[in-house]
Symmetry: C2
Subunit: 152 residues, 2 copies
């Protein structure tokens, strides 16, 4: 009976989905680390490169909206990517408030080197693609509901 109560106690760490998500994010990060080290990227930098590989020459704000990050995070990160010669930052001539982020040739070339990353992650997760897709969709739906609550 005491056991049953404790498994239902919402204040117990093991019962909290949020801790599951938090600790899973760290676990993913640790799996990615050796793969991304070879590319000279951190995980958030890799996310920015994924955005840019999809579409280039975009303002900082667009990147922030896709990744849910603000300029306080992105400005220094993008400066590091620029220092690594992967992107170029230029003020937009139409709207001088915006800084446009464009890939350099090296930045474009890195996409090929990064091609094997997702399948390495898939292998590490020891899960079928369809299971992962289902989980991903559930987590995204939860995330979007949470973000909707924040936006109120």
């Amino acid at each position: 009976m005491a056991r049953k109560l404790s498994t239902l106690d919402p204040q117990r760490l093991d019962n909290q989905i949020c801790f599951a998500v938090y600790s899973a994010a760290h676990a993913f990060n640790r799996v990615y680390k050796p793969l991304l080290d070879r590319l000279g990227l951190t995980y958030p930098q890799y996310l920015v490169m994924l955005v840019l590989w999809e579409r280039d020459d975009v303002p900082v704000k667009d990147i922030g909206e896709k990744l849910f990050l603000d300029s306080g995070t992105l400005t220094p990160l993008l400066k590091r990517l620029e220092a690594a010669h992967l992107v170029k930052r230029t003020r937009s001539s139409e709207d001088e408030r915006q800084v446009l982020i464009a890939l350099t040739p090296q930045g474009h070339a890195l996409k090929e080197k990064a091609r094997s990353v997702p399948q390495s992650i898939l292998a590490a997760s020891e899960c079928s693609v369809s299971e992962l897709v289902a989980m991903k969709d559930e987590i995204v739906a939860l995330r979007d509901r949470l973000n909707a609550v924040i936006g109120e």
Copy 2:
């Protein structure tokens, strides 16, 4: 057809479960923030308090194993909790290498004030308890598989 290809492209941001987990963790953090501000805690500090509310007077290492965090993260965090008079750090007399973390009366008392936090999160997630429990179990299983790969 082009659409179908892009929904299967593993190099696309939207197709990556890791980004789903990463961004969901941040969304949770933003929901927790106003709730925890009232308690004077950050989310990682709240996790440490959850551990201590379950069992008190434990070495730093035990906390680290439960939260998957190392001393580089925990030492300064615990010093901040000590500065806030929520915990006390004392060297173990049996094993002088260990630092034992104990709750102060204020630390114990905070548990009552924190009691409403989980249900606020539940409300924000707009999800049934059973759905959340199922998701949590899936995510924990994935996390544990990832951590097993790292340990090799």
